[in-house]
């Protein structure tokens, strides 16, 4: 099939009845498969996509401007509302960049608990991403199982910080409060439980021939494309590059744990699926180790100044969120409000390659491909 340039594709809709007759199809902004308010303008040649154009900004809230109008502590809850499914890693980046700028020491116990809660949050996020994606492909049951598992994680996290979705558990220099015995015992019990469930998911979903036929070989993303678009997270790891911020720029206590980065070289939707499932297992490994050697001590640095005024300059801090690399660039002018806050979110970079990668793809495959990117729209629009 001939792939038209954007100009040719857009000029041709009027040639009705011609050999290149195309039509424009709007996917979204209220389409269930886009998981939020994302609109994709598709120039279609029958079932095939000639050109895709993503229209973003339907849920734009200008968090970056809010950052300039608030004190450092006041902006903390904002960061958990970008990618609401991996709020822990996002608040981690914010407290991390402020700690880096102010040179605040974090007690080891707090770092370990941050790792445990971040990894629990990652599992919860992958479960939602997995269930919702399989639901897009026509399998309704897995998401019910996924939400059952996720419920256990949310109960644990609710017990320590009160929130079930937009967690705001980290503070500059530590945590809002220490974990209790209930959390430790619950997390210990969760690890073997989740391993059993993963076996079941592998048998019923991962090895399911219908699923494999739908996503194997669909949505090829090359390593070169990942670099040019800055793709990250399971997308870049599904294309054979072992890039993980937890290893590349080790933050918090991740140096202390033994875990692998799941990598698959094929670069299709199936590999992104497999990376996520393997990551759940790796997260369980990290949680197990962190619980086993959880140090005693304070959960917050008692010497954190009440008024946070980082020295003038710019600082960046990246964390590995469930969807990939989340970077905050903070410019401080020495006052108690940030001068500039840039939030670099993984979903924006991962979606930006959709336009190139979806050329010539069939519409139903594009839905499967979009699910493999595991988008959270408020994360793109910020």
């Amino acid at each position: 099939m001939k792939v038209l340039s954007k100009e040719e594709a857009l000029a041709s809709p009027h040639s009705i009845g011609g050999p290149n007759e195309t039509f424009v199809l709007n996917l979204g902004p209220q389409h269930p498969a886009t998981h939020g308010v994302l609109r994709v303008k598709l120039v279609m040649d029958g079932e095939f996509i000639q050109h895709a154009e993503c229209v973003c900004g339907y849920i734009h809230r200008m968090h970056e401007k809010m950052g300039e109008n608030r004190t450092y502590a006041q902006f903390l809850p904002n960061t958990s509302r970008l990618d609401y499914l991996s709020a822990m890693q996002y608040t981690h980046a914010w407290v991390g960049v402020v700690e880096r700028a102010c040179k605040i020491e974090v007690p080891q116990r707090a770092e370990y608990i941050r790792v445990i809660t971040s990894e629990l949050n990652r599992i919860a996020s992958h479960l939602v991403g997995w269930g919702a994606w399989v639901m897009d492909l026509g399998g309704l049951t897995p998401i019910l199982y996924a939400f059952d598992d996720r419920e256990k994680i949310l109960d644990l996290l609710e017990g320590i910080c009160g929130a079930r979705l937009t967690f705001c558990y980290y503070r500059f220099g530590g945590l809002v409060n220490d974990v209790d015995d209930n959390f430790i015992q619950g997390t210990k019990a969760f690890v073997p439980y989740m391993r059993e469930r993963l076996k079941m998911y592998k048998a019923f979903v991962t090895d399911n021939i219908i699923l494999r036929k739908r996503i194997e070989g669909i949505g090829m993303v090359s390593q070169d494309m990942c670099r040019r678009y800055g793709a990250c997270g399971p997308v870049i790891r599904g294309s054979g590059i072992a890039y993980d911020v937890r290893k590349a720029e080790p933050y918090s206590a991740y140096r202390d744990f033994d875990f692998d980065i799941p990598v698959y070289p094929q670069g299709d939707s199936m590999t992104r699926y497999l990376v996520r499932m393997d990551e759940i297992e790796q997260s369980l490994r990290i949680i197990e180790q962190a619980i086993a050697k959880l140090p005693e001590g304070p959960f917050i640095n008692p010497k954190v100044p009440r008024s946070i005024k980082p020295p003038a300059g710019d600082y960046t801090y990246a964390t590995e969120a469930a969807r990939g690399r989340f970077l905050i660039r903070l410019v401080s002018n020495g006052t108690d409000t940030p001068y500039r806050v840039k939030l670099r979110t993984p979903c924006l970079s991962n979606l930006s390659l959709f336009e190139e990668a979806s050329q010539g793809m069939m519409l139903a495959d594009a839905i499967a491909f979009m699910g493999s990117l595991d988008l959270v729209i408020p994360d793109i629009d910020r």
């Binding site: 973003c56 900004g57 970077l327 001068y339 840039k342």
Partner: protein, 205 residues
């Protein structure tokens, strides 16, 4: 072929420039005790910070001084800054710098702006990360604030397309040669740039 920060610094050196736009006279600081021996950037930073401290009104934002790297290409302490290399290049050279980055296997992280209103400057920051060795590089250029124009790097890193559109939305910086410089996150008829420091809620009405 993973480059080191030193190799990159050597390659970026010819493109770099320390003060390529003559800085406008700094805003009149509130009378403070005279600063001895004005080593230009440092003294200016101190003066502006003092001015900011003495003017507590939050709007407009307290003037700040762009933290100029002492050298145009600077190898940074990652633990303190979050980048390994910070380079300041001429606006015309951002494409050449992007090509160097692509050749060394870097991936585009993000493109963004910073409005230095008190100095009449706009800064464009290009962040890169290396997927194999984890090296982090920030390349920046500074433009005149009112006639900000910089060539697009979306021909080199296609992912910069959206980031540049967003920067154009928020700051009004024009990226010449950009294939589709239309509002990305703002409404399609937006005529305002919310991250410019002189933006007020009224200008969006």
């Amino acid at each position: 072929m993973s480059p080191t920060a030193e190799q990159l610094a050597a390659e970026l050196e010819p493109l770099a420039v320390a003060d390529f736009i003559p800085l406008p006279p700094p805003p009149k600081p509130a009378p403070v005790k005279p600063v001895a021996a004005p080593a230009a950037p440092a003294a200016e930073g101190a003066a502006a910070a003092t001015a900011g401290a003495t003017a507590p009104t939050p709007v407009p934002a307290a003037p700040a001084t762009p933290p100029p790297p002492p050298k145009p290409v600077q190898i940074c302490d990652f633990a303190a800054k979050g980048v390994n290399l910070d380079a300041c290049v001429r606006p015309a050279e951002v494409v050449a710098a992007a090509q160097i980055m692509l050749r060394h296997g870097f991936a585009i992280d993000t493109v963004t702006g910073v409005d230095w209103m008190a100095q009449g400057l706009m800064e464009v920051v290009y962040d890169y990360f290396h997927p194999l060795n984890g090296l982090r590089v920030a390349i920046r250029c500074r433009l005149a604030r009112d006639a900000g124009e910089v060539p697009t790097i979306s021909g080199v890193f296609q992912g910069a397309n959206w980031h540049e559109r967003e920067t154009n939305d928020f700051f009004g910086i024009r990226f010449t040669g950009h294939p589709n410089l239309t509002p990305f996150l703002l409404p399609e008829d937006a005529t305002y740039h919310p991250l410019r420091k002189d933006f007020t809620g009224e200008s969006a009405q």
